[in-house]
Amino acid sequence: MTNDQGHLMIKTALHAGRIMIENGSEVARVSDTIRRIALNAGYPDSKVYVTITGIMMSVSGEENAQIEPVTTRSIDLEKITQVNDLSRHFAAHKITLAEFDQRLTDLDRHPRYFPVWLQLVSAGLVSGTLEVVFRGNYPDFLVSCIIGLIGWGVFYEVNRLAKVRFLSEFLAAAVIGILAILTVKYHLGTSADDIIIGSVMPLVPGVPLTNAVRDILAGDLVSGIARGMEALMSAIAIGSGIAMILQAV
């Protein structure tokens, strides 16, 4: 093994790890994946330290450790799955290390999201269906769908413009509150409470919440608490958006 090979391996492994954390993977999965990549590249003795704001990695017998900061954070389970698939391919010797790194760069550059209209329709359906499941209020199904759709639209646009997740959640929640109260005032809906409960469901921070619990249970206390704070901030943003409107009326 030359030293270059080791450098490429660490670079690829850290790249894979960064993509996974950026898109909402839990920490135990990331360190497991990095360790497997190192093992399959011929370095059974690697040391990895993963937190949700940065990754450090060194290989015994090599000189340098490398650090990869993680600055942006979003939610995209497709990318995590793709990195997982690439890692499996690499383990099965279907791709080389250089190809692996190239594919990771491609993956990072060309995200594969569902089209925006499908996301909007989905947000509407999440709102409507869960409103009925939680509250059993059939007449408000359609209104919840439409308000949930508008709320997600606001969330998506503000997120694209401002790139602050908490701000977009706050504004989306406020818009949902205003619309729910207006529809009830003009007799388009029957219960503002039920409409709001359904319409904020697409905004629920499900990924950070689940990851916080899984991280803490797995013993990654630092990352678990940080994720928990992220989820709590989202919940507070949504809650204060709604509370502001409820107090104003």
């Binding site: 389970l77 497709e78 990924v207 107090q247």
Partner: protein, 160 residues
């Protein structure tokens, strides 16, 4: 009975569409929806048998955890693709909303009682996931012992 069936269909739709929002890969969406509907059925059956809301949530989360792990092994995808969408129908949205509303309107004592309900439900779900993790680990250990393919694939896994 009809209500329950309608709720299950709606849960399936809600789970799949939430999967679209967090960009679950297409090949995992359908299975995630089935897991959501099945675990919600378990939850409703527990409520019908008067086992209490804490136990019902715990049991639902346990079913989600176990089924998600089987789905992840079958489809060879990370387990979060299945358990996050399936968890969405269990979110205590109603209680959380009542808590916010009562805080905003100044009814602090009612708000705190709703806060405690949210805490009980969230805690039960967390412990359900913990139990599911334990079941999955025991299952993996048994599989490693009895299946040669498994013990070959996991020969480097330090957890087993």
């Amino acid at each position: 009975m009809l209500n329950l069936i309608i709720d299950l269909i709606l849960t399936y739709i809600g789970t799949v569409t939430f999967g679209v929002l967090i960009n679950v890969p297409r090949r995992g969406l359908n299975l995630g929806g089935w897991i959501g509907a099945l675990s919600f059925l378990a939850y409703r059956l527990c409520l019908m048998a008067n086992l209490g809301i804490a136990f019902a949530n715990l049991f639902g989360a346990l079913i989600i955890g176990i089924l998600s792990m089987q789905a992840a092994r079958y489809k060879r995808m990370p387990v979060i693709n299945f358990n996050i969408p399936a968890m969405v129908p269990f979110v205590p949205g109603g209680q959380a909303y009542q808590m916010i509303k009562n805080f905003a309107l100044g009814n602090v004592s009612e708000a705190i009682s709703f806060l405690l309900q949210v805490a009980v439900i969230a805690g039960s779900i967390a412990f359900g996931f913990l139990l599911a993790e334990m079941v999955n680990r025991v299952q993996a250990r048994l599989m490693v012992r009895f299946s040669s393919r498994w013990s070959h694939e996991n020969r480097h896994n330090p957890k087993l």
